[in-house]
């Protein structure tokens, strides 16, 4: 188990390193010269050279990449003398457009994204797993058809479209909710709830649809297995069979999906945050793309990759507890 854990973490670290290299190469090779962007319109060749020197852009690629990696662990300083800019320990780069370190920008916005992800996750797990179970147990009835129709809608409706409809109906027409703006919980809990309600609903709808379909298919698959026929032959009641025998094998795949989806959302719900104007990591990414603020785009990409890779590791470890077959295989 310890060996497995170590192997798993090591490979996760390798993937993260590869992803950061990959990202760095793409931004290094493809994007327009950041020095020119920072310099702006009133620019002289001398000034560009100076900025290149400050950013370390005159160094060869490997030196730049090494500086970036080292900056993450020990921090780094751009330039020297009076104009020096320091970027403390987990340094993901420095945005010269806004004059702030990328880490700091992400830190201030992460709570918003986490709130969006957490609330949506609670809703979609309840709705998705519930609807999936219901339609599997009542297979072929109108319950089943209704739930699956709902799921089809959730899969096919783009979330920004749902967001616009909700906003139009609830805010403009019926005026039940105020325009969303990320109000901190401590300031006004009611406003806080109102401002996050629509993003939660929009995100949860899309994910719940996928989960409902997955759970339904899994439960139906499991109900056809031999060990459940044995349980039925023993004379167990339908409800007991479902609770004792069918639920566990059919819900373990949900754990995998949930881990990945939730981790992905922590790195920012780009579209939802943008539509509702919530200042989370996703909106930070979208705004930085619009301004071509590369250090920030790269920082957010790496953060998202980090969450997904770590989520993957956590899922794998959870699996060894949930599924005895995996536990034996990893020994």
């Amino acid at each position: 188990m310890v060996g497995y854990l170590a192997r798993r973490l090591l490979s996760a670290l390798g993937i993260l390193l590869l992803i950061s290299l990959f990202t760095y190469v793409i931004f290094f090779l493809l994007s327009p010269d950041p020095a020119v962007l920072i310099c702006g319109k009133t620019c002289t060749p001398d000034r560009i050279d100076q900025i290149r020197g400050t950013l370390g852009l005159d160094q060869p690629f490997w030196v730049q990449f090494w500086d970036f990696l080292r900056g993450f662990f020990v921090g780094r300083t751009y330039g020297d003398g009076a104009s020096a800019v320091s970027c403390p320990a987990p340094c993901l780069g420095f945005s010269f457009q806004t004059n702030r370190s990328v880490t700091e920008m992400i830190e201030t916005r992460l709570p918003v994204s986490a709130t969006v992800a957490l609330g949506a996750a609670v809703l979609w797990l309840l709705a998705g797993v519930g609807a999936g179970l219901l339609s599997a147990v009542k297979q072929g009835t109108w319950w089943d058809r209704g739930a699956m129709m709902f799921a089809l809608g959730g899969i096919s409706l783009p979330n920004y479209f749902v967001a616009l409809i909700l906003q139009y109906v609830l805010v403009v027409q019926m005026q039940i909710l105020p325009f969303p703006s990320a109000v901190p919980f401590g300031e006004d809990p009611v406003r806080w709830f109102q401002s996050y309600l629509m993003p939660w609903l929009v995100l949860a709808f899309g994910y719940a649809a996928v989960y409902a379909r997955l759970v339904r298919a899994n439960v139906l698959d499991t109900l056809g297995e031999n060990f459940l026929r044995t349980a039925r032959a023993k004379g167990l009641s339908g409800r007991l069979i479902l609770r004792r025998h069918a639920l566990r094998p059919s819900l373990t795949p949900v754990v995998t999906m949930f881990g990945m989806d939730f981790a992905g959302l922590l790195g920012g719900a780009l579209i939802t945050e943008t539509v509702f104007g919530l200042n989370g990591v996703g909106k930070l990414a979208a705004d930085s793309i619009a301004k071509n603020d590369q250090p920030v785009i790269m920082g957010v990409t790496l953060l998202a990759a980090f969450f997904v890779v770590i989520g993957n590791v956590i899922v794998d470890i959870t699996y060894t507890f949930l599924d005895p077959r995996v536990r034996i295989a990893t020994r």
Partner: protein, 319 residues
């Protein structure tokens, strides 16, 4: 199944006995199919409609009298900030779906041209990711060993990527160039592993089946086995995966265009039309409802068709 030599086939239908009821008339067949699964038929009909709309878009310009980039100053009210004149976003005999606020471009013709862009990108991306996914999946599953190791690790790596954010970062870093082509390339790079994973697994099981062993024993080389024995058996899976990939690509393309890194204005794409409508949603809801509804119905139709095909091939419900 591998093709059974036809001279060994047993003739099952006895001659002289006609099937009961005679051949069904075409109309009767459509009615009975519609009765057994109306959603599938309606989906197919809607997709045919959208494809026709996309193909006929240049011809429709002559019919409706407006091109996708023509401004109509008379259809908008410049005193009210440029919102369309008349009810429902300016729906009239002249503009069937109304006009865009501020510039008065005809929404119907832009939907038609947008269908062209969206379908072209989605179908090209599907073809490319299927070629990559099936090719590499069969290679990994059939060859095994180090080839499988390398391909599988690349797949793991690509699937661990936060693909949406990365696609956006990539597209924003890439020089403008030919957007639709870039979109197709980026979409296929991040989607082929999902196809390859399924194909690889199925190829591994197929490789151990008796008919492949028989082909090996009869001296067939690898290429012949792959093309004559393995690929025909993967046909059903490929059709299902492709049908379900198209709506995914349509949605992702629309999402990327919505975020401003996809198809660039003034070229219309459904997602980008919705993005421009965001600023107007409160005063002119029709502007986002029309492209949104088209996007929704197209994705829905493809998904229903894909689900149906999978049920036909697998005999089980979808996840």
């Amino acid at each position: 199944m591998s093709a059974v030599p036809s001279d060994l086939a047993v003739q099952v239908t006895r001659p002289g006995v006609s099937p009961q009821g005679g051949a069904p008339r075409p109309a009767g067949r459509i009615v009975s199919a519609l009765r057994s699964s109306p959603s599938v038929l309606l989906s197919a009909a809607f997709l045919v409609f959208v494809v026709l709309l996309a193909l006929a878009a240049p011809l429709l310009v002559g019919l409706v009298g407006w091109g996708p980039y023509d401004f109509d100053k008379n259809a908008i009210d410049s005193d009210l900030g440029g919102i369309p004149r008349g009810a429902l976003g300016g729906v009239s005999a002249e503009h069937w779906f109304g006009v865009e606020p501020q510039n008065g471009r005809d929404i119907f013709i832009r939907i038609a041209f947008g269908a062209q862009v969206s379908l072209l990108i989605a179908v090209s991306a599907t073809i490319m990711s299927m070629i990559l996914g099936v090719g590499l999946g069969v290679l990994a599953g059939y060859h095994g060993g180090w080839v499988d190791q390398v391909i599988s690790r690349v797949m793991d790596f690509l699937m661990a990527f936060p693909s949406l954010i990365f696609m956006i970062a990539l597209l924003s870093a890439l020089p403008a160039g030919n957007r639709p082509v870039l979109l197709v390339i980026v979409l296929s790079i991040f989607s082929w592993p999902y196809t390859a994973r399924v194909i690889r697994g199925q190829t591994m099981t197929l490789r151990n089946r008796e008919f492949v062993e028989a082909a090996v024993a009869s001296g067939a080389n690898s290429a012949r086995i792959v093309f004559r024995e393995v690929l025909p058996n993967l046909r059903g899976t490929i059709i299902v995966l492709a049908t379900l990939a198209v709506p995914g690509f349509i949605g992702t393309e629309a999402g990327l265009s919505f975020l401003g890194v996809g198809v660039t204005p003034p070229t219309p794409s459904w997602g980008q039309m919705i993005a421009t409508a965001v600023g107007w949603y409160a005063v002119d809801p029709m502007y986002f409802l029309i492209p949104g509804t088209f996007l929704f119905l197209t994705v829905l139709s493809f998904t229903i068709l894909g689900d149906h095909l999978r049920k036909q091939f697998d005999g089980r419900d979808v996840a």
